[in-house]
Symmetry: C2
Subunit: 198 residues, 2 copies
């Protein structure tokens, strides 16, 4: 490779990002070198800023720039609903839909016997504290429809049984715009079981 | 989106990189925030370094950290062969194969009547100067097998007709490990026309 040390190091780091491999990292680096003033220098500065300021919300686990995130400090969002998600990316996905008006709780993963991930590793004790402290009436489990996600959802639902809160989960079915021919059998089966009168 | 201004700006910039979209940019940013010390801060520093030092080689157009790149200054590479490529990425791909021992000339694109790209925009005059100055005996046209790439190759071959240098191009055929069933008709046809006695 004819590029010198720093350029090679940059390609290697970019290749570590999820979604990028060595080839796309090289393309990205060449693109940035061509757009130095418009992209490369601002990107470097913003990375520095975010590295210095980004932190996990002590309450819900969301990523923001203060100890407690904007959602947790907003009184408008204290409507008694709490949405439990696996990861910050899932929280952001929920927020983009713009429909949910309550607060969130980011578990930071799923229970896993294989990886020795128990409730303590997952911010589940904190969830129990919040349910009492924030007068929660409904816990919405928005965990991924994977085996680990559903195992975690069942565990949390079991823990909440005696707490006097409603426990719900996202509906499963045909995605909007989805074509039956492209859906897997499990989704079709779930959609059929949960069919509704028109 | 619950993330604050800098995080949003970072996602937006990352999404501008080739190969990344909004979704993968968000994943990459969350990954970096989790690996702050190991990835985010070093990446920011290296971006800054490369932005400050990376430049185009005045001779061949390769990207390096000095006015004339390592390949152009190396006497070992002055073997009378020059390999003409469209882009720096193509030069790097040739270098990874490790087979070519001569020098390069990066055109910076292909001729295109539609986009008004003529020979002057493509470092072609500089190629002609180099052929005389560096005592070039063979010009290897390693341009992409696209219509624009092949048009550019034909134009350069025409310009070189009277210069007394050999003009060659990369062989076309079945890629190593390639399966006929997955190849397009043009490649099979080219491979058949260029067939060799075993």
């Amino acid at each position: 490779m004819s590029s010198t040390k720093d350029i090679d190091a940059l390609i290697e780091m970019m290749a570590k990002l999820p979604g990028l491999g060595p080839r796309s990292a090289r393309r990205a680096v060449l693109h940035m070198i061509k757009k130095r003033a418009l992209l490369m220098i601002p990107l470097s500065d913003t990375l520095q800023n975010v590295a210095a300021t980004a932190r996990e919300c002590l309450n819900c686990g969301n990523i923001g720039t203060s100890d407690v995130c904007d959602i947790c400090t907003s009184h408008k969002r204290a409507n008694g609903e709490i949405c439990v998600v696996e990861d910050v990316a899932d929280l952001w996905a929920m927020e983009r839909s713009g429909v949910f008006k309550g607060r969130y709780h980011v578990l930071g993963g799923t229970l896993s016997a294989l990886d020795a991930v128990g409730p303590e590793e997952l911010r589940i004790p904190k969830l129990m504290t919040r349910i009492a402290d924030e007068h929660i009436t409904e816990v919405i489990l928005a965990l991924n429809a994977t085996i680990d996600g559903q195992t975690t959802a069942h565990y949390i639902a079991g823990e909440l049984e005696t707490r006097g809160v409603a426990v719900t989960s996202l509906a499963q079915g045909v995605p909007i715009g989805g074509e039956l021919d492209y859906l897997d059998d499990g989704t079709i089966s779930a959609a059929l079981k949960a069919r509704k009168a028109l």
